[in-house]
Subunit: 362 residues, 2 copies
Amino acid sequence: MAYEALAAAMQDASVTRVDAIYVGNMLSGEISGQAHLGALVADFAGMPGIEAVKVEAACASAAAAFRLGLMGVASGYQNMVAVVGVEKMTDDVGSKLTAGLASAADADYEAVHGVTFPSLNALIMRRYMYEYGVTKEAFAPFSVNAHANGANNPNAMLRNRITVETFMRGGAVADPITLFDASPMADGAAAAIICPAAMAREYSSSPIRVAASAMATDTLSVHDRKDPLWLQAAQDSAQLVYRQARIGPAEIDFFELHDAFTIMAALSLEACGFAERGQGTRLALEGEIALNGKLPICTQGGLKSRGHPVGATGLYQVVEAAQQLRGQAGPNQVASPRWGMTQNIGGSGATIVTHILTNDEG
Amino acid sequence: MAYEALAAAMQDASVTRVDAIYVGNMLSGEISGQAHLGALVADFAGMPGIEAVKVEAACASAAAAFRLGLMGVASGYQNMVAVVGVEKMTDDVGSKLTAGLASAADADYEAVHGVTFPSLNALIMRRYMYEYGVTKEAFAPFSVNAHANGANNPNAMLRNRITVETFMRGGAVADPITLFDASPMADGAAAAIICPAAMAREYSSSPIRVAASAMATDTLSVHDRKDPLWLQAAQDSAQLVYRQARIGPAEIDFFELHDAFTIMAALSLEACGFAERGQGTRLALEGEIALNGKLPICTQGGLKSRGHPVGATGLYQVVEAAQQLRGQAGPNQVASPRWGMTQNIGGSGATIVTHILTNDEG
């Protein structure tokens, strides 16, 4: 899977060789008994010899790898870098996978008590509903929007449209999270090629500029946070990218956010300045997150419909943002976007990586 | 463990905060059910919020993390970086650990047949002995030297001196590898602080300059190599660092090599230009690898005596090289060294990371 995504990205970028490969992946050791993915991907890609390394930051692994790839180029150590996110979750969809995913939480203080990611997110969602007087139905538009966009995406895993009624009929996962709040486990890979801006036009007629990149962390355990309803690392990384790109949330034309659960979509919108605290669902209710809305999100289906192969997701977001900015998003094209933002969340917000991409060559 | 090493490094460097933490680790997810070590270490170090990420390249994870930390600083993205290598192997010394270590090999073509790292190295060692007419006893000096140096290192795991006779009496691990060819499983952590050279004197009276850094890969599987007795990635990365530092092997004053097994020490010496092909053991037999020899190796006991906590080893090597270059290596001090080389090997040579450090501020 990594090779296929990498080969497609290299073909798109008209390159036949790269200086280094950064692999974003979370669970290959735990699920498939295969660590050492850097060397593996370099080998299978027919480039044994080149530098290659795996980067892990739970579900934010791929965006973290993308950021490290940017640094490789910015440092001058490398000129042409490939970043690949890959995850194969279906090698074990039973206890190994659930335990593997829970390893993104604090093993000694959260997972040891049987906490899984659905249950952690359920606790946060329940508190959110109580604290802000928000109903379960208020989260429906996130899921409906994701499925509507995913229906047109040939790379999406779940291409069925759903209604609010479908959403409300979803079976319980971890109350109040039901089936349509939660993104599906998936196999998948995505890749991008990075080079210095000054070189990009030699390789592509439509290069995309990374205008800003930031990573921030928060406490690993949710219970250690002063406010479990606030994604501090989302705010911190968003503030950094706004400053780097010299724009604010009002200039962002679309936002590929990390809707692993609908509650995360709401919290992400709030922390990044798109909605007031406790108002994240309102943006969705008012239709502003649709492709023709003020802030389209999850334009190719998001994690919910396109799928959430954990260590690959951050690169899906980057690739989807690039497609939008190149006008190659097909039926899901947002009208003339200039600035696209991506945000990849690891654990319950302990690592958050945010990028702003643009078709403005600056 | 990571925090203790990090705190000691920060104190040594007189810094109270860093911009980012790079964590080298291989098996925390597999052995301890804890992924997401970047956020964990940042949190436990009292710096939640800062950027942090885990880097994995099997047993070369720590040196890979060190190299990525160098890039972070060289890119200008970060000014003050901490790199921590950590591994806790004793949480499971049974099947999980053996399977975890084997995940550095090719899961589908090597590990699936029951291949472990001792057995892979045994195959290589047996072939080496056959091809070059080298006896088992010829490998003894590597182990004797490591134990002699480790005996004086308070951080070493096995502080007993051994003789050639002890070496020859070692019980079988995987024929021809016996007990004293193989490095011990260990828990451990080591850390280093990196900043731009121009800033270093503000923080330390004895900063060490990283004169060169390189990473190279080879086929993941040993059977895919034209010559299983040649560490191509060691040669490739060594040639790169020699060129960057504008020196050759003759200028290297000591070499912290990756003696996970004695055979790896021999192959590393050959690939890096310190011995002719098939002559790696001769250097050891002639006493040239001792502290007062032409090329001291494993000056604090190496992997064999100091211990091999896989994802931490590469940073032990960097720290030990820094101690030598600062004249702080105690009873194991090499006389007035100027150039120290470190080499960290992942898998059976599929990822090799090589650095040259110097006390010459350039």
